[in-house]
């Protein structure tokens, strides 16, 4: 108790300096936490994917489509439970700023394969019945103030023209990590229009979604499907949903790596600030350390006092930083839900926060402690006079 009291009083001997240092550490922990959360938001899609789902796309690249007629042949493959298909629509709402993921899907099979999208039975059947029906995620609908029954018009960037839809349902995520920012409508509606305007692009789909009977069968099924279409005009590349999502992330990996590096730079910056505080503090107290030594206190007592003080400051900063991370992340999520539909602070981030602030505290105390331990008592006492 005595020690803790001494540490606290020492730490706050220069109130302003202590508060500034704590604030600095809190800012660093806050930005580190936010950056980590940005990175995990990047991977949210991959984390939320199911091991039972496979995705087939054109082997050349995603920009190329596959004939929708493949569906029946895929269904015959041993181990396949269900097949659906979807087309990336890439529409914008009113202006380019309102961009969100929009897909033309085969409604009944698709919704069946995504139990994490919760839609009431009546809304589901309304959607399936209406050829021009569409479904939006809760967050997306809130962002644009849509209500069930509203008419929504999207501008196509890949499929030119204005596309009119009737909002038949708003889905909710089953888990916190479910993306509630997507938009779905009937693939048939898209296809009928294409048949009329650009028949060349009709009867095509971007991807097939395949539900396998058991996750163990995934690679076997994927190989079987790709084997079916080998050496055809449109070869397929089939992989698990997770691998598919990770392909996107790996293409922008450079950015993720940069954010990771930068998140550690801020810790180093604050390490310098905390080390500076401790260096100044220890320099001012060399006389006191000499007196303690003259009374018979050993080097570990002196070092303990210095480390104790710097770790105390670091932990207070850490606590404040973590405390701030939650409201700031919530505000962040509200602002950026268009880019990061899932923005959750992971538990591991908090542990890392704690570990890094301990590290900052220890590193900050290292040099001053070394100097204080080495100082000769007679020299230390002379500094006082």
């Amino acid at each position: 108790m005595f020690i803790l009291k001494l540490l606290t009083r020492n730490a706050f001997r220069h109130k302003l300096r202590a508060l500034l240092t704590i604030t600095g550490i809190a800012i660093a922990i806050l930005s580190f936490g936010l950056l980590r959360t940005v990175v995990s938001a990047w991977y949210a899609g991959a984390h939320a994917s199911s091991g039972n789902r496979l995705i087939s796309r054109n082997a050349i690249s995603l920009v190329f489509s596959l004939p929708v007629s493949y569906k029946d042949r895929i269904r015959q493959v041993e181990g396949v439970k269900n097949v659906s298909y979807a087309n990336w629509f890439g529409g914008v709402y009113i202006t380019e700023k309102n961009f969100f993921p929009s897909f033309a899907i085969e409604p009944a099979t698709y919704l069946g394969m995504y139990p994490e999208f919760i839609l009431s039975d009546s809304q589901t059947s309304d959607f399936i019945r209406d050829r021009k029906g569409c479904v939006a995620g809760r967050k997306l609908a809130e962002r644009h103030g849509w209500k069930v029954g509203d008419s929504v018009t999207l501008k196509g960037t890949i499929f030119p023209g204005s596309w009119e839809f009737n909002l038949r349902g708003i889905y909710q995520g089953k888990k916190q990590t479910t993306d509630e920012g997507q938009f779905f409508f009937h693939w048939n509606y898209l296809n009928e229009t294409l048949r009329k305007n650009t028949p060349r692009r009709a009867d095509q789909t971007g991807i097939f979604l395949i539900e396998v009977k058991h996750a163990n069968l995934s690679s076997q099924v994927a190989q079987a499907i790709d084997g079916l279409f080998k050496n055809s005009l449109a070869e397929t590349l089939t992989e698990t949903e997770k691998a598919f999502q990770l392909t996107f992330i790996s293409m922008t990996e450079a950015i993720v790596v940069a954010i990771r590096i930068v998140s550690y730079v801020v810790i180093v910056i604050i390490m310098a600030v905390a080390a500076n505080t401790m260096a100044m503090t220890a320099r001012e107290r060399f006389g006191e350390y000499a007196i303690l030594k003259s009374m018979g206190f050993g080097w570990f007592h002196i070092a303990g006092m210095i480390f104790g003080e710097s770790v105390l400051l670091a932990l207070l900063g850490c606590a404040l930083g973590i405390g701030l991370t939650f409201p700031v992340a919530a505000a962040f999520a509200a602002q950026l839900d268009q880019f990061f539909p899932v923005f959750l602070i992971e538990r591991s981030t908090l542990w890392l926060d704690l570990f890094l602030s301990l590290l900052v505290g220890l590193v900050a105390g290292l040099f001053p402690a070394w100097r204080a331990v080495r100082i000769r008592i007679a020299d230390g006492l002379r500094r006082i006079g």
Binding site: F2, K5, L6, R9, N10, R13, G287, E288, A290, I291, L292, K293, S294, M295, G296, F297, G298, W299, R376, I377, A378, L381, I384, G385
Partner: protein, 225 residues
């Protein structure tokens, strides 16, 4: 006189200043008996503080020996020396050197944290020490709330709380007004007479020197009698 408490033989000490070696003590030999009140005087730079530091075990000599209670200090390791200091030496400094963030009570308690005493025992010892210096009513004050004389009395209480046999005092009245200085000297004298503490004091102050039972002069690192 039987075995002396402190026995100093051929002590030599010099400091480096830049590339030069400046001799501070040259071949000092001296015996101090138990219960003495010894005063070291001399102009500044004469080496009296260095001698005091060497006896107190916070500095090490170049050659020669200091034996206290039949222990040769030069043979002790750093940590053994620290433990030895904790139980044998009490310090009183010119500028009191209290820890500003601790109360008078806590400052006095500090040396006892190195012992295995219980909290209760520590409290008893601290209260006794503070009673000896007459500051029972100021226990909960911080150094900044005390006068110079009071701070020095806290420092003396801190020096005696672990009941060491030797008190070393470096200019204990150097920073005090006349009345306070007298009080501190009375206190030291009382500790010497009633509690049998051996006191070794460095001072410039002739009034302080008068309290000595034995007076030594140092000049340029040599004892002049």
């Amino acid at each position: 006189m039987s075995n002396p408490l402190v026995s100093i033989r051929h002590l030599v000490k010099s400091y480096r200043r830049g590339n030069q070696s400046v001799p501070v003590l040259e071949d000092i030999s001296l015996d101090i008996a138990e219960g003495e009140f010894l005063v070291l005087m001399g102009p500044s730079g004469s080496g009296k503080s260095t001698l005091l530091n060497l006896i107190a075990g916070i500095d090490t000599a170049d050659s020669g020996s200091i034996t206290i209670h039949d222990v040769d200090l030069s043979l002790l390791s750093d940590s053994a020396l620290a433990a030895w200091r904790a139980s044998h030496i009490g310090f009183v400094f010119q500028f009191y050197n209290l820890i500003p963030v601790l109360t008078a009570f806590e400052n006095v308690e500090l040396p006892l944290l190195l012992t295995s005493m219980s909290r209760h025992q520590r409290r008893e010892h601290v209260e006794t020490a503070l009673a000896v210096v007459g500051l029972t009513d100021r226990m909960e004050h911080r150094p900044s709330e005390l006068s110079g004389g009071q701070q020095q009395r806290v420092a003396i209480a801190r020096a005696i709380v672990s009941d060491p046999s030797i008190l070393v005092a470096d200019e204990p009245t150097g920073d005090l007004d006349r009345v306070s200085a007298e009080e501190i000297l009375n206190l030291l004298e009382q500790l010497n007479r009633e509690f049998g503490k051996t006191i070794i004091m460095v001072t410039h102050d002739p009034r302080a020197a008068k309290r000595a039972r034995r007076l030594l002069h140092l000049e340029k690192g040599v004892l002049v009698l």
